[in-house]
Amino acid sequence: MRVFYFTIAGAILGLFAGLASAILMSGITPGGLDRAETVSINRWVSDWSIGSEASGRYVKAWVARHGLLAMRKSEAVYFIRNVDDDGQPLTEQCQYRVSGGDLPSGWWSITLYDRLGYLPMNADAHLSVDATDATGAAWAFDVAATRPEGNTLWLSSAKAEGFDLTLRLYQPDQSFLDAPLAELGFPSVQRLSCDGEAGS
């Protein structure tokens, strides 16, 4: 009888452990993702296997949760950045300056999403900046909860709390896909000031 009770107890423990580990590794909770082909450039992080049939079960589960209907990398690649240049999490409480130059693609955009991957529920209509807006070899825009003075190109983080920026490169250059780490021009995200502290 003791063996029976121990077996039942082990099965119950296994059930919860299996469920918890699956939730953790699928990215339903933050962290724990086993990405198959992680590419990180200047703190912008992507996975080259997104959208491909070769995606492993964990990447596929993560993409289903965080990037449903993503395209193959030959058509588009997605980079997510959730920290500033100092490695601090991006938050609505701070103002940032995003600056960069030419990017290795036919077209690109940077969009702000909340921690759950949704556009924050504000009515500012400033949630994305793209190659159409940011012209020239060098460009910059601010990210803030309220419109920065004298700055028409900005992203609103109002009601986002913690957030991330998603950089989409459409029809990326083949040379970039072959050697992504050679790309030096990915945008920087500089923290300008935060609530309760003087601007810098």
Binding site: R2, V3, Y5, F6, T7, A9, G10, A11, L13, G14, L15, A17, G18, L19, S21, A22, I23, M25, S26, G51, S52, E53, S55, R57, Y58, K60, A61, V63, A64, R65, H66, G67, L68, L69, M71, R72, S74, E75, Y78, W107, S109, T111, Y113, L116, G117, Y118, L119, P120, M121, N122, A123, A125, L127, S128, D130, T132, T166, R168, Y170, Q171
Partner: protein, 173 residues
């Protein structure tokens, strides 16, 4: 006591690994199924193109939707036979993607340019297709999703992209 501990460890391991793999493998299909339901409840029918409203915080229904793009969706149901898809090109960036019920992107092609419309036939592995010359995309199940993305960052271009739906086809012939 030793036998009881061995049984405990075996039960924990077998049930734990089994539960883990079952959940991980089922998650994409479960999430895609929820996406189908969500799109259906927002008025999108099966085997018919439907323009999504311009993406805003209030209209988004899928994670990481892009407010710069005009989306047109067709939920694919192959229960009554293969579905024929025809999509007009677009002057700016655009693409046609097809996903199976497990979220895998099984087909993608560019819509940018002025060439004739993009044509494909979507069928299950065991359905016969008689249309010669049109590319055939095979899905592992009866359900899938076709998605058109067109670069349309402003209201005017979004309306122009939306107007192209009348020239597109997504139907069982």
């Amino acid at each position: 006591m030793k036998a009881a501990l061995i049984s405990f460890a075996l039960a924990t391991g077998v049930v734990g690994v089994g539960t883990h793999l079952t959940v991980i493998n089922a998650l994409p299909t479960f999430i895609m199924s929820r996406a189908f339901s969500g799109l259906e409840s927002s008025g999108i029918g099966w085997n018919a193109w439907q323009s999504a409203p311009k993406i805003t915080p209030q209209t988004q229904s899928v994670v990481r939707s892009s407010p710069d793009l005009a989306y047109v969706v067709c939920l694919l149901d192959l229960s009554n036979g293969p579905v024929r898809i025809s999509v007009p090109r677009w002057v700016r960036y655009g693409s046609l993607s097809i996903f199976d019920h497990t979220t895998t992107n099984v087909h993608i092609e560019s819509l940018e340019g002025s060439r004739p419309p993009a044509n494909v036939i979507v069928a299950t592995a065991d359905q016969s297709v008689t249309d010669n010359g049109t590319p055939v995309i095979r899905l592992p199940g009866n359900k899938g999703l076709a998605l058109i993305r067109r670069l349309a960052p402003d209201t005017e271009s979004h309306q122009a992209a939306t107007a192209l739906v009348k020239d597109a086809e997504c139907a069982v012939p």
